[in-house]
Amino acid sequence: MKPVFEYTKGMRETELHYCPGCTHGIAHRLIMEVLEERGDIGNAIGVSPVGCSIVAHQYMNVDMLESPHGRAPAVASGIKRVHPNSPVFTYQGDGDLASIGTNEIIHAAERGEKFCTFFINNAIYGMTGGQMAPTTLIGQKTTTCVDGRTVEQAGMPMRMCEIISNMDRAVYVERVSLDSPANVRKAKSAVRRAFKVQDLKLGFAFVEFLSICPTNWGLSAPKSLEWLRENMMPYYPVQQFKCPEEVKEVR
């Protein structure tokens, strides 16, 4: 028997505490698979955010540290100054990156910081029990907009890829989705491209993962995948916004 898929050694033995069906588990695995392929598990340094994945360091087998809410891009900038040749990444949720952390991500992108940011967009605040996120959709119900988000009260949801791709030094910006095996494979390719951009020191690399939160959406995991396709994809299109020539061929 020949292995087709074996769980990456980049993920530690610890069982994930995430809710059943939470796609953090998939996103974590993709990043660790790519680092393992590159032989970088021993070299990489990651920054985990405040959010459900604050304890990502219990699962990812790389040197990691927790960051204050939203500040991961600043923390990563400091790490990269001391270790300019080590692969560095931040892993951030939508409250962390698109709410409290917008200042840090915009400036890191415009400085062209040579690390990768992996942004988990599930349109809600998970860890604190399902409040509205900057990425919550119009009409979507959360505990801080129980009748559904309205434009008058909360403004429009923020499309981070669109914003980041306006920064000149954000050279690789792509939105992917974790809703199907085919899209998961494409997401992994995006992670490979992001780390290649870092290798070549081309500038800032940003990958947004459309993700589900079954618990706070109040849906089963399979139904959540449908909700993502029907509601999130039209507003957050899965596409490659910017890609340097040098990494276009990376699959």
Binding site: I54, V55, V62, D63, R71, A74, S77, I79, N103, H107
Partner: protein, 358 residues
């Protein structure tokens, strides 16, 4: 023998940090310390260091957290409102036990305050402006030379205790010029040397050790309590070993002043003026604000009738003086706030009033 140079305080502080091996500076302009990021932006690259003008003080302190976690020797500077903004991360860096040197070039407060010198961050730096149980060591220079020496020492203390160390200089020291001598320069660690000297730092585990997970959140409160109790002895050690002070003329003094920073130099002049009128006074000058030099007060003699805290704050240090004297003497206050300064004549007049009343 190193040459004596006339330097502006802020520039000397930056030069002293580079001299002590600092190669990472992340800062944001704020009066009265903007010359520090300006100096660093020019000079750090000449020694192979990294400078970032961060998006805000929040960005700067968190860049420092990352660089310190990665094993770098970092300097952070700001003034009072900027330090207030950094507090979340200062407490967090204490919670994860990483070394860092932070300079607070203090100005009048509260709020946005004034851009003139102050000492009203005393509580902010000694009581801890962030959440939870922790301490930062605090040094208070009264001259640019002393600040240079304290910056060098602060890096060693920060490394030894794995803790942020704050240098509380008032805006006067940052802006004035004095002749100074830089000590022998120290080389920073190379990237390869970091794992051996600072094994707790993030360097990529290279499969030679388990991965480091630097965490500040604790989902099990029993473990957090154990963790706090496990590192707390280092603060008790600091209280035994780190207090520093200068005392003068305590013998036979009717009044003992307690004062730090540039205010203490005003007090010295006032002491001369009072001596000319036959009034004997002494001075205890704390050089560490945390741990506060409680032992200095054991040297006060029977002749002393008044202790006076002289500060540019609303009695913030007076509280620590009262704790230190344990009720043995009345403690009074001579102060200005909001960025106003004391002059020796005002100190003399107010001292005499205090002596009449009691």
């Amino acid at each position: 023998m190193a040459e004596k140079k006339l330097m502006k305080g802020n520039e000397a502080f930056a030069a002293a940090a580079i001299n002590a091996g600092c190669r990472y500076y992340f800062g944001y302009p704020i009066t009265p310390q903007s010359e520090i990021p300006e100096y660093m932006s020019r000079e750090l690259k000449k020694v192979g260091g990294s400078f970032i003008q961060a998006e805000s003080e929040l960005g700067a302190i968190n860049m420092a957290y990352g660089a310190a976690a990665a094993g770098g020797r970092v300097l952070i500077t700001s003034s009072s409102p900027g330090i207030a903004l950094m507090q979340e991360s200062i407490g967090l860096i204490c919670s994860v036990q990483l070394p860092l040197v932070i300079m607070d070039v203090m100005r009048g407060g509260p709020g946005i305050g004034s851009i003139q010198p102050g000492q009203a961050d005393y509580n902010q730096v000694t009581r801890g402006g962030s959440n939870g149980d922790y301490h930062t060591m605090v040094y208070a220079p009264n001259s640019i030379q002393e600040a240079i020496d304290m910056i060098g020492k602060a890096y060693d203390v920060a490394d030894e205790y794995r803790n942020p160390v704050i240098i509380a200089a008032d805006g006067m020291l940052g802006q004035m010029m004095e002749p100074v001598v830089m000590p022998e320069p120290k080389a920073p660690l190379t990237e390869e040397e970091i794992p051996a000297v600072k094994p707790y730092c993030l360097t990529g585990h290279k499969f030679k050790r388990d991965r480091h997970a630097i965490n500040s959140v604790w989902l099990k409160q029993e473990l957090l309590e154990d963790y706090i109790n496990a590192f707390w002895p280092k603060y008790e050690k600091a209280e035994r070993e780190l207090p520093e002070w200068e005392s003068r003329d305590l013998d036979g003094a009717e009044v003992v002043f307690v004062s730090y920073g540039s205010t203490s130099r005003v007090v010295l002049e006032a002491m001369d003026l009072l001596a000319q009128e036959g009034i004997k006074t002494g001075l205890i000058r704390p050089k560490t604000l945390w741990p506060f030099p409680v032992k200095a007060f054991e040297e006060i003699g029977a002749a002393t009738k008044h202790i006076i805290s002289v500060e540019l704050s609303q009695g913030q240090m007076m509280m620590d003086v009262k704790l230190a004297v344990e009720g043995k003497w009345p403690v009074s206050l001579i102060n200005r706030v909001g960025g106003m300064l004391l002059d020796p004549y005002e100190v003399v007049d107010r001292t005499k009033k205090i002596m009449e009343v009691k």
